[in-house]
């Protein structure tokens, strides 16, 4: 397709006339209707001492955040969360990119392979976690059987959090791979041919062509994986429940226990709000990087 020579400014006007806001409106309405209230509610609660037991409810300003600062269990959970997020997201992106590039090549049975790659992602997390718990079983689990080892995967402080990471990596690498596969399709083949003509090695082609062009999508993937991993709940809840000795307790697990087991809705909301701000902070860094890339 040839390039359109010049675009008269009247067309630009026409574009403005079509009121892009109208296109965004449905999404805005849905998101607004369903999320604004819950989020404001949680923010509001985080400034309260709200105990369901005994029906205590009073405004205490930022006192909950001060309590958080001195709460050793919070710092422990934050450490676990950061470790889980950084290790699992890094592994997922590397592995996902590798799989995407592998499957991007033309070969027989490509569609079939794509479907296979999606399987881990397609299994409900709760079910997948149950499956892995079964495979991690220290007594008759298939992992120990195949390795000929006696590893206490889920019951030892050294292994438990890593065991949860393995599951998360297995489960969500397809998400990364799928998006990157779709992204690879949008890279013009001519660029690769040009690189070949110039005699660039595959590694150089990857660094100079593939990576820069995938960058925006990679950042989107990173953002969503980080947000998800930082809030990890189901996986750990099923595998270890936070144990042994809180060594796998992440912020969401801790928030869950404070909210729904001990019914401290105020302090629990404070934990949730803290997760929100921390994730927001990380995302901001990513978005900056994304912006720098697009302009």
């Amino acid at each position: 397709m040839g390039r359109l020579v010049s675009i008269p400014s009247t067309w630009e006007l026409l574009v403005r006339d079509s009121r892009p806001a109208l296109f965004v409106l449905p999404a805005g309405l849905i998101i607004g209707a369903i999320t604004v209230y819950p989020i404001l509610y949680v923010l509001w609660l985080s400034l309260h001492e709200r105990l369901l037991i005994g029906n205590v409810s009073r405004f205490i300003g930022l006192e909950n955040f001060a309590r958080l600062w001195n709460d050793a269990r919070f710092w422990n959970a934050l450490g676990n969360t950061l470790y889980f997020t950084s290790v699992s997201v890094a592994l997922e992106v590397v592995l996902g990119l590798a799989i995407a590039m592998l499957l991007h090549r033309a070969f027989k049975g490509k569609g079939f392979m794509r479907a296979i790659v999606l399987i881990p992602w397609a299994i409900p997390t709760v079910v997948a976690a149950k499956m892995w718990e079964w495979m991690y079983n220290g007594d008759f689990g298939v992992f120990n059987y195949l390795l000929g080892a006696h590893i206490n995967w889920l019951g030892s402080a050294a292994w438990a959090l890593n065991a949860a990471i393995f599951l998360d990596v297995w489960k969500t690498t397809p998400f990364v791979a799928l998006l990157l596969m779709a992204g690879l399709h949008t890279i013009p083949k001519e660029l690769y041919q040009a690189a070949k003509v110039d005699g660039a090695s595959p590694w150089v082609t990857f660094l100079r062509v593939t990576l820069p062009l995938l960058r925006p999508l990679l950042l989107v993937v990173l953002i969503f994986r980080t947000i998800d991993a930082f809030r990890v709940f189901d996986t750990i809840y099923v595998l270890t429940g936070g144990g042994p000795g809180n060594t796998t307790e992440t912020l969401s697990i801790y928030a869950y226990k404070v909210l729904f087991q001990t019914l401290q809705f105020g302090y629990g909301s404070t934990l949730a709000v803290t997760v929100f701000f921390l994730v927001g902070l990380i995302t901001l860094v990513y978005v900056r990087a994304l912006r720098a890339g697009t302009t």
């Binding site: 397709m1 390039r3 359109l4 675009i7 067309w11 574009v15 079509s18 892009p20 806001a21 296109f23 965004v24 449905p26 999404a27 849905i30 998101i31 369903i34 999320t35 819950p38 509610y41 949680v42 592998l102 090549r105 070969f107 490509k110 569609g111 392979m113 794509r114 479907a115 296979i116 999606l118 881990p120 397609a122 299994i123 409900p124 709760v126 079910v127 499956m131 007594d139 689990g141 298939v142 059987y145 297995w170 998400f175 799928l178 998006l179 399709h185 949008t186 013009p188 989107v220 953002i223 809030r231 709940f233 912020l251 928030a255 909210l259 909301s269 949730a272 929100f276 927001g280 995302t283």
Partner: protein, 270 residues
């Protein structure tokens, strides 16, 4: 030689992805007494009793249907609404795009565990408790940020000249959107659709809270209902998870096929 290495890699990837699923399949075919024994690795002989058990005296089909309806409806809604928004953000050069995108993202940053309580109040107020609508609306909303982000990134890859040309040819903005731009973004739509579908298919926390009976229960909650007070029927859980995985695989398979060949986005760009 190189080819063999490539297929070896493929086999490794397949094993990695399939391994746990295959183990689940094997587990589902083992007689109850063999479940907690290793070796033998394989059941001898395999049994179908666990499969019979999940369909007998248990409305498992209804639960699968619920999940399918919820996931399909959420996907369609999220794609329709999300692609409109993404189109505006990417192609119409809307002002404040970054602000809107960041806001959409912001809502997915709360741990779901914190928003489930207030959301439940909304659902109850709307008399949507124990209906499929409660889940469809919730899933659409929480899938929208991802959908908008991914689609925006795909729409950005489509040269604006194409949109402008369509306008020159007399299309309205909306027509240009669905007649020209949307087909070009097919791979992005398919990828996003699959992600949303699977998210809705798998979600547990909201489903547990908003549903009460088989009228609206979805698969993850249905499976959570298998265990008795103390007993855990591993065989049945394994069988159920195999059964619920298959439709998604079939779907992914069908979906994938359509998007691969003749990808316009790549061709157009050159």
């Amino acid at each position: 030689m190189k080819r063999a290495g490539f297929y070896l890699l493929l086999a490794l990837v397949a094993l990695y992805c399939l391994g746990p699923f295959l183990w689940q399949l094997i587990t589902s075919l083992k007689p109850a007494a063999e479940l907690t024994h290793l070796p033998p690795l394989l059941p001898a002989p395999p049994t179908g009793t666990h499969y019979v058990a999940i369909f007998e005296g248990y409305p498992f089909l209804r639960i699968i249907a619920n999940s399918a309806i919820v996931a399909a409806a959420s996907t369609l809604l999220a794609l329709a609404v999300g692609s409109l928004a993404a189109f505006a953000l990417a192609q119409l050069r809307m002002r404040g795009t970054m602000v809107l995108l960041t806001f959409a993202l912001g809502i997915s940053m709360f741990p779901p565990i914190a928003t489930v309580s207030p959301l439940y109040l909304l659902i109850r107020a709307a008399h949507m408790r124990d209906t499929l609508w409660a889940l469809i609306m919730t899933y659409t909303t929480f899938a929208l940020p991802l959908a908008i982000w991914v689609l925006t990134s795909f729409f950005r890859g489509i040269p604006r000249e194409i949109y402008l040309a369509a306008r020159v040819d007399g299309c309205t903005a909306l027509q240009a959107f669905y007649k020209v731009i949307l087909p070009l973004a097919a791979p992005g739509l398919a990828a996003t659709g699959i992600l949303v579908f699977i998210f809705a298919w798998n979600e547990f926390l909201y489903a547990l809270t908003f549903t009460a009976t088989t009228a609206s229960r979805t698969i993850p909650v249905g499976i959570a209902l298998f265990p008795g007070l103390h007993e855990v029927p591993w065989g049945e859980i394994a069988a159920a998870s195999v059964v619920v995985t298959i439709p998604v695989v079939v779907l992914a398979f069908a979906f994938q096929r359509r998007i691969v060949e003749g990808l316009t986005a790549g061709a157009v760009k050159g």
